[in-house]
Each structure stands twice: as structure tokens, then as C-alpha cells.
Symmetry: C2
Subunit: 345 residues, 2 copies
């Protein structure tokens, strides 16, 4: 490792554990240096980061809870998360210089990725590379596994999706429409509701912030009840959905973003309907389904190429914009999948 190869490396550092609502000042941007060579004796990969993904689950990593499904961020170290990157140097047998990859990387210009992290080689480059932070990456696999593996969907069923314009929700809705379901989504702004109806082809959509009575609202959109609820928000919405479920309905629990910043989660009161309606409510994590990734690509690539599945991203430019972009997720400021561009190639 020659000294001359060390370059400056801008980074987004996680300051310290957060309680309540996260703020931009819980992160800061700094510059360190990095060697662009993988150290001898390691099987690591050295990458240049191109696109970074802002995902709701990252809130969990801002808490100092050990033994959870994700490790906490390390105070004083860069944020880590899903991203798209280009391999500059590799001592890993599966990757070589010039490869494009997606997987867990750092919020910085260059990252040394150790081999125990999951990394996928990008095969199809006839779509925007940023798609691999979302529809062709973790969010896409989340939508795919949650909908097809957990929801047991059937043609003609009534499907409701909360946080429906997000990276996962927009795709679940389109999968459901392609299967012949009736699909309604909720979102938090008029712009997002318009997207759902006019861009993603949902049958109906509503702004949950404008509804005084979510239970009555869902009854309007689902006079026959809901067969499938793709749950992204939790809390009051879940309570309203429970009383509107049909017999033998299914609830795929993907996330509960409305609860992540509360000191104590809201209580859900209508759980007894799980018995009376014989509901199956099942949580899932995408990590358990990555073995299906090739099958997923076979399904979705033709749909994307033919324009039968569309995708909306909210692009923030530059590492400096990353803290604002991430925080914005929790107030629903982003429209579509929130991406941060570090570099375009």
C-alpha cells in the first residue's frame, strides 16, 4: 500500500444515539483519507460509492439496542446502508475492479467493504444504476417477498397499502394490479396521492392526514372489506384496518414507520378481530429472502423494460445532502424512493 494512493474521503458521521425524532445534527459531514488499495491478507473490496439509499429501517440503527435484527450505528463512524458502488480494487474472488455492485456500504466517497457484508454484482445496466438502491435492490426484494411470499395474493382480491408511494409501497401496488387485484393506497400529501392514482395505476388513493376517521375512510374505499393489508405504518392505521378486514384476510407487516420516533409505541386495540375474522398477521424481513433475488430479477426486469412497472425516485445531490434526505423520510418529505447521489460514475 503506497502512501501516494491515499485520497481524501468525505464522510457522513453518525454523532450519537437518538431518542425521539432524529435531527440533521445527529449526523455531520467530515473529510478523512483512505487508501484506494485493499490491504494484503484481506478479502475485502474497495469501492467508490455512487448512490446511497435512505430507508425507514435505519431509524432502528440510531438506537443503542444490541441483539436486534440490525446492528446499531457506531457513534463517530460513518452511517452505513444500502448503496450502489463501483469496485476500484478487490481481493475477493467474486468481485474485480470495474464491477458494479449493490449492497451494504458506507456513507462516504470510498468504502472498504469487508467480505461478511452482503454484496450483489449488478448484471443489468440498461436501467438507471440508482434503481439498485431501491426497486432492483432491498426495497424491491422487500416488496416482492412480502407480497408474493407473505400475502398469498389471489386475483380479484382487495388490497390496501399504507405509505404507498414509498419505495416498497409503489411496487407492491403495481404487483397487485398486475395480478388483477383492486388496489388502494394511502399517503401523506396530495402530490403522493396523485402519483399513486396517475402514475402507479392504483384504483384509488387517499391522503390519511385529511381523514378524521380512518375507520370510516377505509369502509368507503373497501365496502366489501380488505383481503390484504401491506402494513408500513402501524399505530392508528393498523387499528382502522383491523376492523375493516375480511374473513381470512392477511396482513404482511413490513414496517411501522409512524411508531419509530415515539418514546413508547401507540397501543393497538382492535386485535381481537384477528380471531373473529381469522386473520393472519405476519412480519417479515427481506434478509430471509435474498436467495430469491435471481427469480425476482427474472420477473421484474421485463416489466421495467416494457414500462409495465414504473418507479419514482427522489434524488438528493451530494453527500452533504444525505442527513437532510434521511431525516426527511420520517416526516414523509420525500416523494418516491429517497436516493442520495455521491457520484454518477
Amino acid at each position: 500500500m503506497a502512501d501516494g494512493e491515499a485520497v481524501s474521503n468525505k464522510q457522513v458521521i453518525f454523532r450519537d444515539y437518538v431518542s425521539g425524532f432524529p435531527k440533521e445534527s445527529d449526523m455531520y459531514v467530515t473529510t478523512s483519507t483512505i487508501s484506494l488499495k485493499v490491504p494484503e491478507g484481506s478479502e475485502a473490496v474497495l469501492v467508490k460509492n455512487l448512490y446511497l439509499s435512505c430507508d425507514p429501517y435505519m431509524r432502528s440503527r440510531m438506537r443503542n439496542i444490541q441483539g436486534s435484527y440490525v446492528e446499531p450505528f457506531k457513534p463517530g463512524s460513518p452511517i452505513t446502508g444500502y448503496g450502489v458502488a463501483k469496485v476500484l480494487d478487490s481481493r475477493h474472488p467474486d468481485f474485480r475492479t470495474g464491477d458494479l455492485v449493490w449492497g451494504i456500504t458506507g456513507w462516504e466517497e470510498y468504502s472498504l467493504i469487508t467480505t461478511d457484508e452482503r454484496l450483489f454484482k449488478i448484471q443489468h445496466t440498461d436501467v438507471p444504476l440508482s434503481y439498485y438502491t431501491g426497486i432492483l435492490g432491498m426495497a424491491g426484494m422487500t416488496a416482492y417477498s412480502g407480497f408474493y411470499e407473505i400475502c398469498s395474493p389471489k386475483k380479484g382480491e382487495y388490497v390496501f397499502i399504507s405509505a404507498a408511494s414509498g419505495a416498497v409501497g409503489q411496487l407492491v401496488g403495481q404487483f397487485a394490479k398486475l395480478l388483477g387485484c383492486y388496489v388502494v393506497g394511502s399517503a401523506g400529501t396530495k402530490e403522493k396521492v396523485d402519483l399513486l392514482k396517475n402514475k402507479f395505476g392504483f384504483d384509488e388513493a387517499f391522503n390519511y392526514k385529511e381523514e378524521q376517521d380512518l375507520e370510516a375512510c377505509l369502509k368507503r374505499y373497501f365496502p366489501e372489506g380488505i383481503d390484504i393489508y401491506f402494513e408500513n405504518v402501524g399505530g392508528k392505521m393498523l387499528d382502522a384496518v383491523l376492523v375493516n378486514m375480511r374473513l381470512h384476510g392477511r396482513i404482511a407487516v413490513c414496517g411501522m414507520i409512524s411508531q419509530y420516533n415515539l418514546e413508547e409505541p401507540e397501543g393497538v386495540r382492535n386485535l381481537f378481530t384477528i380471531v373473529t375474522k381469522r386473520i393472519r398477521m405476519e412480519g417479515f424481513l427481506v434478509f430471509d429472502y435474498y436467495h430469491l433475488y435471481p427469480k425476482f430479477l427474472d420477473l421484474i426486469m421485463p416489466y421495467i423494460r416494457e414500462g409495465k412497472i414504473v418507479y419514482v425516485e427522489d434524488i438528493a445531490e451530494g453527500l452533504e445532502s444525505a442527513p437532510t434526505a434521511l431525516i426527511g423520510l420520517y416526516s414523509g418529505r420525500n416523494v418516491g424512493k429517497q436516493v442520495v447521489v455521491v457520484a454518477r460514475e
Copy 2:
């Protein structure tokens, strides 16, 4: 129908819909008359009631909620519920005079059962007839379908059962032990806890009323976590269980008796663990599984005859004792399955 055949018929009448905790005075005992012949042109069955079943779900029928999974009781009419009876007259092709049956009947000495109600002919009479109000009837089928069809149990798994000394719980625990699971039950008195450990062969049992911190209590009994929770109570216990579940755990929701008499159900706060632990939580109703009844009998009859499955009943004598017996369920006064004897033959 000759007038001379009309006999007096003692009945337990449902007075009116109930909010909050039901009281004995929500029912009253009266005497009317009944003809012991089935009217011509009907396919009904006329029975003499022998044993009546007191079941937690009956609380739901004291509310005036239409379109639920069970019909409300009719104010001014006898309570209806599961029972064992002897056929005195029949115009139904499947039943004849002298048959013993179990199914939905009235809380009275004699009932005219119309054919749209589910009625099973009793084949095995080498066990106490009262068993068909519980272990060989609805409660047995509830335990069987809930455990084998919903819990996906495997040998060696960690199983927790609440309200474990009740008609359903005691049987679920014994099924789990026979499969080679580690089984812990909760109940509300020392006597019930002793029963669980000494009579039903549970590995451990505890009195939930003596535990200040249910979450810590469950951690003591399940240092490795809970694979299967058979849910009978809801509320705080469910919250405590959720944080103690293992990865890919299953919660079979059979009932939530702690919630039935509340004006508003308690909120359950720890639902997000459904995601992090990938938990499947599924409600079920025995009505969906009665087609398995012959298979169930094939399994359980040998166990009962060989003493490998035991069963405890709490017998109340006479129709007059029925209101007290039913109300007692909701304060946990009964020890074992609550039965009311109307007549022994």
C-alpha cells in the same frame, strides 16, 4: 301434537344486552312448558339436555353486535350454547330417539333443535358424557385445530399457554408435551398452577396475578424465548409475550378473555417485534375445522383411554347454578372446564 305431552321446562333466560362485567342478574331462571314431540313438517330434533358448557366466547353473545362471528343472544329467550343431550323425538334423518348428541342447544331442560344448528352424534360412551361439552367437543376441537393447524409445532420447541388450566389450555399443553415440547402455562390461582404442574404434566406454571413484571417472568421461564404462544387472554400478557418471542415464532390467537368485559380493549404496544422476529400471529375459529372431528377422535380417544391425556372439569349441579357458573368464567373462579349438569340421563 297431543296437549297431554306438554311438560314443564325450566329455562335460563337472557335478560338483556350487557356492557362491562356480566352479572348473574343478567339471566334469570323461569319455567315454561314444551311439547316433547317434534312438530310435523319440520326436520327438528327434540332433546332432553344433560350437560351444558360454559365457554368464554359466550360473552360476545351478550352484546348486541350483528354480523359478528356469533349471533347475539335474544333477550327474553333462553341462553344457547354447546351441550350434551338425549334425543327424545326426531324428524331429522340423521337422528333417532335414544341417540346421544352434542352441539348447540338451549339452557333449559328440553330443547327443540332446528336442523340448521350443528349437531354431532356421540359414538363413544365409554368416557363420561360430560366430556362432550369440552375435551371431546368444541373445546377439544379448538385445542386440536389451534395447536396442530395453526401453531406448526415441532418437537423440542418452547410453548407458552395462557389461561392454561381452562378447557382448551389444559389440552393444548398435553398435546405439546406428547409432541416433546417444553411447556409452560399461566393461570390465576395456586390451585390451578398446581394442577398444571402435577396433573397435566406441564414443565412449569406460574400465577400471573403474583407477577409484577410479566416480561421478566416470561424471560425466567423462557431464557431462550418462546416458539409458540397459544393466546387465550390478550392485553398485557400478549405485550409481555411479544418481546419474549423467538425468531419465526407463532402466536395462535384463540381468545382474549382479559379483554371481553372492558369498555375499550387495552392497547398492545409491542407489535413491532412481529417484524423483527418474523412472527406469524394468526386467529382461528373452531367452526372452520369441524370437518376434522373424526380425525381428532381417532387421535384423542386412545390417549384418554390409556390415561395419557387427563381432563379436569368443574361441575355445577342444576340449571339454577348455570348463571353463577357462566359468570365465574370471567373472574377465573372455575378450576378446569366449567360444566352445568341439567340431568344425568
